[in-house]
């Protein structure tokens, strides 16, 4: 149990004031926002909407937060779920791109350009992108990811495998 999480959540629940919300928002949003930005393909407006929806839902459910994970992890779970819901709504209109790609070894003679890597992440389909961001960028374990996304650990690993292949293919073709 994180003492900062506990204090801030308790303060909010006791006061439900603007200031107590602002304190929560300012502490946790920078990390959430970077993730929202990547998940939405580096689209500021979409990231804003995702963050807004995340906080609204989080505040509605905050009483149910039991401090079993950190508040950051809990918030990321909400963010990911909202992003998935948004994506499902959109995917009805689009055909999911087939990603059966070769598995070339990434050329590592040259260092990886971070802008290219961001572009590669952006190019991933939503499902792969979120797993890759959670695991390789944010450093969550498959166990955490499986809880956040309500999938099995095996699915998480499999999706990561596909995501990395797609990333390597993208970078090698650059």
């Amino acid at each position: 149990m994180d003492s900062q999480d506990l204090q801030m959540v308790n303060e909010y629940l006791a006061e439900r004031s603007e200031n107590s919300f602002r304190a929560l928002y300012r502490t946790y949003t920078p990390r959430l926002y970077q993730m929202a930005y990547r998940l939405t393909g580096r689209n500021d407006r979409a990231a804003d909407e995702l963050i807004q929806d995340t906080w609204i839902r989080a505040i509605k459910k905050l009483e149910s937060f039991k401090h079993k994970s950190t508040l950051t992890t809990w918030l990321i779970g909400i963010l990911i779920n909202i992003n998935r819901e948004n994506f499902k709504a959109k995917i009805r209109e689009k055909v999911y791109e087939d990603l059966s790609v070769e598995d070339p070894a990434l050329t590592t003679e040259n260092r990886i350009d971070l802008m290219d890597l961001e572009s590669a992440i952006e190019s991933l389909p939503n499902g792969y992108r979120q797993i890759l961001i959670l695991h390789d960028v944010e450093g969550f374990r498959h166990k955490d990811i499986s809880e956040m996304l309500e999938i099995s650990e095996g699915t998480s690993k499999s999706q990561l495998f596909q995501a990395r292949r797609a990333i390597r293919k993208y970078l090698n073709e650059k």
Binding site: S17, N19, S20, P30, Q52, T108, L117, Q162, R164
Partner: protein
Amino acid sequence: MQEEQNLTPEEKEAFESLDKFKLPQASLENRIIEQLKNEKLIMENKPKRNYTIAIAAAVVVVAVAGYMIVSNGFNPEDASGSAIGGIEKAEKYKSERGETVDLEGEEVQQLLQNDDFQEMIQNDQFRDLMKSPSFTALAKNAVFMDLAKNPAFLDLAKSPQFFDLMKSPAFTDLAKAPNFGDLMMSPAMGELQKNADFAELMKSPSFADLFKSPAFGELQKNADFAELMKSPAFLDIAKNPAFAELQKSPGMIDLAKNAQFADLEKNAEFSDLAKSPAFQNLAMSPAFENLMKAPALGELMKSPAFGELMKSPDFGELMKSPAFGELMKSPDFGELMKAPEFGELMKAPGFGELMKAPEFGELMKSPAFGELMKSPAFGELMKMPALGDLMKSPSFNDLMKSPAFSEVMKNPTFGNLMMNAQFGDLEKMASIEDLE
């Protein structure tokens, strides 16, 4: 099921180097708050009672009291009796110097009949304050009167964040500290406050976030940090245009966030750092090259305070904090660093001491301080030349340190009075301009 293929070291490093934090536009916060309010998930901030109010709130009460003094020859001894009773009924009064003061207006009448107002002017501590030489000197100060009439100042003085800050023990302790007074009275501080870049920086969210960060709080208590800030070599570097450019460059931002950079001194990982993409990007930038040629850099690197600071874990934490990265990127910060006034301030005797004071650290970390710094009214106020001039005036500093002032600031009735809408209206009356 497919197992993921492990990342190569290069891939791992690249993923780890990606930004983990990003600050949204400030407007997003307000949009969310509006929605939360609409859905009745949060409540408006309520003005709190039992205020402990200092500087600017003091300015407001001084303005009103000054108004009373010059308009009515205010005598605390009869304030509760005939003098106030007379104000209620009268329409025009002569000031001590003979100017006509217009007391018409519903707002003024409401204020004068307000219970808090009546209670306050009968309060012994308030009367002591009114009689103190520093108070009367300030009340007659033209600069002060200009400031007190300014709408930006009035907006600030009535804001909840301002009250939250002013009532904090850290603030009242700081206001009484000798170093605070010295610094405030230093010419450099007065000049700095007139600098537009300073005002812009003070308003930026990243600046407020940085000051609130635990890492900065720890660092500012570090004696080496204070020493470094005062050292001539640091000041020379800070004024170097290449330094300002460098701080804004993406390479520097990336490098500052790099964990190896923060661990450099502790783990002797300099060779790893030099190979990192962040460092190589930085090294290729023209600003870096120019800075490397500056003699002041060599001096700075040799100074013991710099060496000690670089080794301190607090410094490493600060460099990694997202707020620091954002601040470094802001153009206002770069411009400020180059301003001569900033350099002068850093050298001021009170600055180093103030930075080390625990009260200062507490104040900087308080949420109210962050809120206040970001408010538009505060930004407007900071740009006003009158504020810089006022801060330098001995009468203002004398007043701030006077026991009577502290007592009045802690008085709950005074807090109630300050939040009274008519109180601000009284000061906006055009007739007050005649008093100076």
